[in-house]
Symmetry: C2
């Protein structure tokens, strides 16, 4: 039986004490505790639920949870069919409520909260259809898919009609690409080897392990110390050999000119992209960096903190971005990610999603697989981030084989966490947190 | 006795039921309830307090209040001298806390909360010095003033050294300009006549009243209906005569090309600027609009929802903005407004602050007066917004005479609200709200 109405929306504050291990340490995020507001939408059919998350790095996760509670009033009581029959319009309602729009618009805390709620709606839709999200998207008629997108402020680069045309053109070879994905998976790169907080020995060991697992693409964090970076980049390049791919990530550490100067120093390690060289808001700064570094074979990658489709539009059309790093939880859920994937295709910029954190790998693999099957039709210069943290908390964790994401088979958006993990890691009442607080390692505030 | 330490930080959720009168109605904000998180910092000296606000239009005000409470942990216990001796660094601490930065960075709910806290710190500083804020700023040595600014991500257009040079160059004639301000005040324009929800008769009456009060600059809201806009613009132009200034404001209603087409239709009413023609995030879109409309004598104005100095930097350096509309409560308080005022001066773009709402006029007048005395030294093409709403709730409401803001004399940032207003309008427990809820006009959620 299909559900007809959303009956409730709950949210839990889930946090993992990752800062204890310095996992995820970089030039800007010295001690993150990977966290998520965990949203559950229930329906009038018992057991048919949509789960959704957004991602934060610890403190303030409760502010996003609070924002979800405020947004939930616009979702509870809504008819399921009405949402999905004009999802673009419903998305606009959520992001443009008359009074709440002032708090963004479409950025920061409110937009992260929108992502959690919207991701839950897509998870529900895919579960109702009994398909993994990537398959739900891949099977959708172009008109239907485009109807889920809010095109406001995009018309100067992409109209709904043009988007439908693009999708129709990409239908050729769709079935072959789906078969290829199921057989081989979507290429990913690993960030697990090169965190700033790691010693050289640890980097060396992790690189060797990743090579043995079949990875050919590696990312290192840079930006704290130039000598250190030069040594680490050369070390990794030596370990992975001349033909594998090396990416670096400065996590917004630099001024514009500083980024250019710094990267010239690292160019001899053959770097494919410099990620987040400066403020995520600085489109024209990125453009200046791109112009200076492109002759060295280094592209500019950014997007994990790119707030919405309007910013992506400018990065894409100006040439400020050579690799488009959508984020399943920073943008307002699947709908806005589809908008960006389509714009990136129009401008010929490969989409290489951001992942990691908690659950980002589980979610974003669906978008990459859909992108290949239905939009880009290409794997050239394309790779999705992969990190090997926290997957054990998911009911259907992502599967990576030989450096490729294997398409998930379970219905939904792969969000569902184990009930035991939710209970143990709920902040600050969960067992794990109570133990840490009792031992004095954390303070409950 | 001067205080030495911040002892507490409280915040109250204050809202005014302005939507009942349709004051403030425009193409995007159909029924705002002007609201503010009201912050009070107390010190170890009884009675020496800093008050600060940010501004919202109703729903979600409590989310910002919540964010203020989280931020307050970084302020309470801090030594007053240490904050003001390197305010730029303290500002950076507030905006870049390791984990909380993810929630922005420097945008949306978190940045609004930063504004409220930082404005309270400036109010406290001015009160300690016994000066109105504009005078505190005007008397400050260039080096000291520049030390309050966080220059991160600004170095490609302005360095601290260059800023100090600029301020030193503007010292000539400072005393004369201060005397001029005290005698005549800073020019403002009125937005009170042309709200979208008003009938033509009301517009006519309000325009005549404003002319009698000495106003020569008028703003009308546009963007809902082209015929309506054409009629209203011509009506106002006829009422105010050929030489007074007419500005229009679309509150982000349009796509890029739509803005260009629409404004061409209104150009015969001699429009000085089109404000917020499209998304506040669309720098390149604004640039395209500016290029198309500048030949018609129409400039592009924006800024009230421009999230931070990094966005302003791009608007200013690209030529996308001919009028720079800083907002005292959207940017991260006085420090970041100073950064933008200095960048605008460098690029020769007049600063014409956004005001209205609740308290924005009271606050931003200080920044305009400082700008004239110490930075721009010019009144050409400069005017600050004025609206005649809600001033009665302030202990020292702004004073406008003959269309000019008269410099405030009371020590502080003019934030202090009357205790009776705070009590009456606190949401949802205040007397006014309890009455409205009891009468069924509002629902407490």
């Amino acid at each position: 039986m299909a559900p007809t109405v959303i009956t409730a929306c709950s949210v839990r504050d889930i946090r993992f004490p990752t800062s204890l291990e310095r996992d995820g340490s970089d030039a800007m995020n010295k001690a993150p505790d990977y966290s998520c507001p965990y949203v559950v939408l229930t329906t009038d059919v018992v057991g048919v639920e949509g789960h959704g998350i957004t991602f934060t790095v610890g403190k303030g996760n409760e502010i996003v949870c609070h924002a979800v509670r405020v947004l939930s009033k616009m979702v509870v009581g809504q008819k399921v069919n009405e949402i999905y029959s004009d999802f673009g319009k419903f998305w606009q309602t959520l992001t443009s409520e008359d009074q709440m729009r002032w708090l963004g618009p479409e950025k920061g805390v409110m937009h992260l909260a929108v992502a959690a709620v919207v991701n839950a709606l897509w998870d529900l839709w895919a579960k109702i259809e009994g398909k993994p999200l990537w398959k739900l998207l891949a099977d959708m008629e172009p008109e239907k898919l485009v109807s889920t997108i809010d095109f406001r402020y995009m018309h100067d680069v992409l109209t709904p009609e043009e988007a439908i045309e693009m999708l129709k053109k990409s239908q050729d070879g769709k079935q072959e690409r789906e078969a290829e994905m199921l057989a081989k998976g979507y290429p990913c790169y690993t960030t697990s080897c090169g965190w700033l907080g790691y010693e050289d020995e640890k980097i060396e060991r992790l690189c060797r392990e990743a090579l043995e697992e079949g990875f050919t693409r590696f990312k290192a964090k840079v930006g704290a110390d130039i000598e250190d970076d030069r040594r680490r980049c050369r070390l990794i390049r030596k370990l992975i050999g001349p033909n594998n791919i090396l990416l670096v990530d400065a996590n917004q550490r630099w001024e514009v000119q500083q980024a250019i100067d710094w990267m010239k120093e690292l160019a001899d390690s053959k770097i494919t992209w410099i990620e987040e060289p400066t403020s995520p808001d600085d489109i024209l700064g990125h453009l200046q960096i791109a112009k200076a570094l492109n002759p060295l074979g280094i592209g500019v990658a950014t997007g994990e903190q790119c707030q919405n489709r309007i910013m992506f539009k400018q990065f894409l059309k100006s040439g400020a971005m050579q690799f488009c790093q959508i984020d399943s939880c920073r943008l307002g859920g699947v709908n806005e990610n589809l908008a960006v994937i389509l714009m990136a295709h129009k401008f010929g910029v490969p989409v290489c999603p951001h992942a990691g954190g908690v659950g980002l790998c589980e979610l974003v693999q669906h978008l990459s697989i859909f992108d290949y099957i239905c939009v880009s039709g290409s794997l050239e210069n394309r790779m999705t981030e992969y990190l090997d943290h926290l997957h054990q908390h998911f009911k259907a964790p992502c599967v990576v084989r030989e450096g490729n994401y294997i398409p998930p088979q379970a219905a939904g958006y792969s969000v569902d966490m184990k009930e035991s993990s939710l209970n143990d890691y709920e902040w600050p009442t969960g067992r794990v947190w109570q133990d840490l607080i009792a031992s004095g390692k954390y303070t409950a505030e």
